[in-house]
């Protein structure tokens, strides 16, 4: 009987901890550390035993052929999918099993491969949605409905912050256009700006250079470096453009069929014969 009560107590405690988002903490020198992270869909092992360790202020690349499981890793890290094995830590805090919203609030922000902007909203408002959970801009529903001074203050500072962010991406002049009316390259940039607005510790970029012309890509490299340096940011990105990856990433992990093929320093990993084989075939 006592055992039964204990088990119930344990269950309740676990639930309460889950609710309060208090997670197991470990000592970790890494911003992101995944341990044997994996997921299976039915019988298909979309990702397995993925171990990625990203140090602070690193730009880390995740590459691999089509269908290697790169976006799946992103979906695992952002809570879209729940991992079926392994776990991951952000600055030593376990985030496995949390919902997308909470993971974002804990400090992982992402962009999407197929752009997902709030199309019927203006550019500046898109960024302001990103600022929503910032503790600086706390303002509950009642304050907004009653239009207390705090509401106006928050709105004003929020807008200003959004404009500042847009300035970095040269989008300030577009701020009152609808997001869907932006050209493709600018939409990608806006997505990064919006993700950055959530004040993350780790930024996940899913093919940020896809569909950009060489000039825009070059521009993007500068912007990403700027973000790393000025926002004290750690970045994990997926990209197919090898020139882009080798010019930008400090370290990479190469995935194929959901497993890690090679990892480490960009140059070394890219010259790994296994990697070349996976890419060129043979």
């Amino acid at each position: 009987m006592a055992k039964f009560i204990d088990s119930i107590k344990g269950f309740v405690k676990e639930k309460i901890l889950q609710k309060a988002h208090v997670r197991e903490k470990i000592e970790s020198d890494y911003v992101l550390e995944t341990r044997d992270l994996g997921i299976t869909f039915g019988g298909l092992k979309a990702a397995q035993n993925v171990n990625i360790k990203i140090k602070k202020n690193q730009i880390y690349g995740l590459i691999g052929p089509n269908g290697a499981g790169k976006t799946t890793i992103f979906n695992l890290l952002t809570g879209v999918y729940k991992p079926t094995s392994g776990t991951f830590y952000l600055n030593g805090e376990e985030l496995k099993g949390l919902s997308q919203e909470v993971i974002n609030q804990k400090g992982i922000a992402r962009t999407f491969q197929n752009i997902r902007l709030f199309n019927n909203m203006t550019v500046v408002r898109n960024v302001m949605v990103g600022l929503h959970n910032n503790p600086e801009f706390k303002c509950n529903e009642l304050v907004s409905i009653l239009r207390l001074p705090q509401h106006f203050k928050v709105e004003k500072t929020m807008r200003q912050r959004a404009k500042d962010l847009l300035k970095i991406f040269d989008l300030e002049d577009e701020r009152n256009n609808l997001a869907c009316n932006l050209p493709y390259g600018k939409q990608r940039k806006l997505e990064i700006a919006r993700a950055l607005a959530t004040n993350p510790k780790l930024l996940l970029l899913d093919e940020p250079a896809a569909g950009m012309n060489p000039n825009e890509t070059e521009d993007l490299v500068k912007t990403i470096k700027y973000i790393r340096d000025n926002f004290d940011m750690t970045i994990l990105l997926i990209e197919h453009d090898m020139k882009f990856v080798s010019g930008l990433c400090d370290e990479i992990t190469v995935l194929n069929f959901g497993t890690v093929l090679a990892e480490g320093d960009t140059k070394t990993a890219l010259s790994d014969p296994e990697v070349i084989k996976a890419y060129i075939g043979g």
Binding site: T71, N75, V80, F112, N114
Partner: protein, 287 residues
């Protein structure tokens, strides 16, 4: 024994619901719209039967089917086709408009007083069991109709084209399928089923009003959603299930007044457990 009668009655009512639900579900699967005017096609069928039944019962059924198909295709052509590619909400509102239009047209033509026509086909005595013949006919016919539809969809060219269009309209078009024609056929089949359902429902209630189709329409819509809207077997299962539940509820005096509420509660519970209905396809947005 009583329970057996209840069950047979329920299955027969469920057959009617299933036939109407098939119309909803096929149109939804292929044109991706909720055809709120579907219930009123039943009403059109009912009035046609009422008009022709003094002449000849068989002629009445044929006339009802033909007329309903004509009305269905006309509605599709003039009200829904111009809106293809527009927002589903706009189509939904148009369907609501068509529903009101058909009802008020019927009111203009037939007046608002209910018309009663007694049709008694007698009852069958099987030992202690006494079952209305109309119930048996309904049950048998609905099973035949559903089987025929199943075979049609599975084994004919047009049927397979319908499945293809419901999977992916664009790809079907690229494969040389005339999507407009398929949608028209879908509406025609749905309307024909509604006409047959109208006949059986009329046999059951024997009273004709302009809102004749509203109640079975909404019940069948519920049935279609319970089974998973867009799924043909789902509509059949949902219809039969709803019919049996209704029949059982009505047979228990304590809860008979709450039949509708119970049915709708079952719908909500099923959807909460299985958000796309019993046999609906799981669809997930790709991230």
């Amino acid at each position: 024994m009583d329970f057996l009668i209840t069950l047979v009655n329920g299955l027969s009512l469920g057959g009617i619901y299933a036939m109407i639900a098939l119309g909803y579900t096929m149109v939804y699967g292929i044109a991706k719209m909720l055809n709120f005017a579907h219930g009123d096609i039943i009403m059109v069928g009912g009035y046609t039967i009422l008009l022709f039944i003094p002449v000849n019962p068989v002629l009445a059924i044929v006339a009802a089917i033909v007329f309903c198909v004509i009305v269905g295709i006309t509605v599709e052509k003039f009200a829904y086709k111009p809106l293809r590619g527009a927002s589903p909400l706009a189509v939904l509102i148009t369907a609501i408009g068509v529903s009101t239009l058909l009802q008020s047209l019927a009111q203009v033509i037939f007046g608002s007083a209910p018309k009663i026509q007694q049709i008694n086909l007698g009852a069958l005595q099987l030992g202690e069991l006494k079952i209305e013949i109309s119930t048996i006919i309904t049950l048998v016919c609905s099973v035949i109709v559903m089987l025929a539809l199943h075979l049609f969809v599975k084994y004919t060219k047009v049927g397979r084209a319908m499945v293809a269009v419901s999977e992916d309209k664009g790809a079907a078009q690229l494969m040389g399928i005339n999507v407009n024609f398929i949608i028209m056929i879908t509406f025609a089949i749905g309307s024909a089923l509604a006409a047959i359902a109208g006949l059986f429902y009329f046999l059951k209630v024997q009273t004709m009003t302009t809102t004749f189709g509203a109640l079975p329409g909404i019940k069948a819509f519920t049935a279609a959603v319970i089974g998973g809207i867009g799924s043909i077997p789902g509509a059949m299962v949902g219809g039969l299930l709803l019919g049996v539940v209704e029949s059982i509820c009505l047979s228990i005096p304590a809860i008979s007044a709450y039949t509708d509420a119970i049915e709708f509660s079952i719908l909500i519970i099923i959807l909460l457990v299985k958000p796309t209905g019993l046999l609906g396809k799981k669809r997930r947005e790709k991230v």
